[in-house]
């Protein structure tokens, strides 16, 4: 069994958002795109790692942590993840 990385995947928001809510410890279905990341109750440096891990696990993309940490809103973050996944696909 040899490790082989998979191709990049397209973000399916219906699947991805509930997982992001779980990571951010937000009640299911309550994620708002205009929500500011730093105001999230459980936001800390480890959450950043967990989002990087989630994107890697679900979408096979390695996020740029600096860009990710500069996202102001949850919507910015989702868009960055989607853009990164789309770039990898090409």
């Amino acid at each position: 069994m040899r490790y082989k990385s998979l191709e990049g995947k397209t973000v399916n928001r219906d699947e991805f958002v509930p997982q992001l809510e779980q990571v951010l410890e937000i009640s299911p279905g309550t994620l708002r795109e205009d929500q500011e990341v730093r105001d999230l109750e459980h936001w800390d440096s480890l959450k950043l790692l967990e989002i990087i891990a989630l994107a890697d696990e679900q979408l096979e993309v390695q996020m740029d942590a600096d860009y990710l940490s500069k996202c102001v809103t949850v919507g910015d973050m989702l868009k960055l993840i989607e853009d990164t996944a789309a770039r990898k696909k090409v």
């Binding site: 069994m1 480890l46 990087i52």
Partner: protein
């Protein structure tokens, strides 16, 4: 002649930093949360007057006490540290004298962090297999705690001090029936990551900080520019890019599959990162070593400490193949396969 690991011993400072103490300072993190997120319950911290050479000497003394090898037989000392006692002289020279190693012994320091042990194995193999040395003492010794600001939980929760001594000896191997005792190697370097794990001030580029003020990051961690800074997110992204690839390259180079490897020991960076890498690379859980709960991330000593503990507990047995992968500050990474045969000479 082939280079083979004959023994590993290690030494940790007496003083312990517990999760309770950390939780008392960082009030929004409970001891349980620190344990859950880092996989660490305690780290050993060097005393103010306890330096890399002190830990190195004690780790080596333990090795000699085991009677695996006499001091006078050591003909090369490789010492890996980023926290040397002095800018000069070389810490390895200080250690040679304090251990009473022969003056005919070669000795040098090399400056690497989490990848240092694997690089050291590569250097030792080169020395032994070109006939330059028969008994190489590879010492990894680090006191990162001296760089850490007490209000920076991003590093304080993770790093512990310690030193490990690994004896690499020249052995006669029947190449027909056995693989290389150490090797082949995969190496990697990407200096673009230099800024993400760094002590900016104190070296020659800036000996004393021009602005000595405290800086706080977005997560409330405080440090000065003379303290260690770690961009955890970037380091994590780097490992996700570099480590699976290095594992794949090593398997390709050896012609082995993960099924042929008995144990996998990665640099013990933090539990969360290791669990994720294990799943990503699809390494069976029973082959994947986690050995940081009582020691934390001891930088270049995590791999020898994990190997030593795995051997002591019977998890690692003679004849088994172990994959070791070091990765981190630099960025620098390296991977190799060890055929475990302790004390064989």
């Amino acid at each position: 002649m082939k280079a083979s690991i004959a023994a590993i011993t290690y030494r940790l400072p007496e003083a312990v930093l517990s999760n309770d103490e950390l939780a008392a300072r960082f009030s929004d993190w409970s001891p349980e949360k620190i344990q859950e997120k880092t996989g660490i319950t305690e780290r050993h911290i060097a005393r103010r007057d306890e330096c890399a050479s002190d830990l190195a000497v004690e780790a080596c003394q333990k090795l000699f006490e085991s009677n695996i090898c006499r001091r006078e037989d050591i003909d090369y000392l490789l010492l890996c540290t980023q926290t040397p006692d002095y800018f000069l002289p070389t810490t390895a020279c200080v250690v040679q004298d304090r251990l009473g190693l022969p003056t005919a012994c070669g000795a040098l320091d090399f400056n690497l962090g989490c990848s240092g042990f694997v690089y050291g194995l590569g250097l030792a193999k080169g020395l032994v297999e070109t006939g330059q040395a028969k008994n190489v003492l590879l010492v990894t010794a680090e006191t990162y705690s001296k760089f850490i600001h007490e209000n920076d939980r991003s590093v304080r929760t993770i790093f512990g001090d310690g030193a490990a001594a690994t004896l690499i000896q020249a052995v006669q191997i029947d190449e027909e029936i056995s693989d290389e005792p150490i090797g082949p190697f995969i190496y990697g370097t990407d200096g673009r990551g230099a800024k993400n794990l760094i002590v900016p001030v104190g070296g020659m580029r800036e000996r004393v900080a021009s602005d000595s003020g405290m800086q706080a990051d977005a997560f409330g961690n405080e440090r000065t520019s003379a303290n260690i800074y770690m961009n955890g997110g970037e380091i994590f992204s780097f490992t996700l890019r570099a480590v699976p690839k290095a594992v794949d390259q090593l398997l390709e180079k050896t012609g082995l599959d993960l099924d042929d490897v008995d144990l996998v020991v990665f640099h013990q960076a933090n539990r969360y990162m290791l669990d994720h890498l294990q799943k990503k690379i699809k390494i069976p859980e029973d082959k994947f070593v986690i050995a940081m709960e009582q020691v934390g991330n001891t930088v270049s000593s995590t791999i020898p400490i994990a190997l030593s503990d795995a051997a002591a507990s019977g998890r690692l047995k003679d004849g088994q193949r172990v994959m070791v992968v070091g990765f981190g500050v630099g960025y620098s990474w390296a991977a190799t396969i060890i055929r475990w045969r302790m004390g064989c000479q």
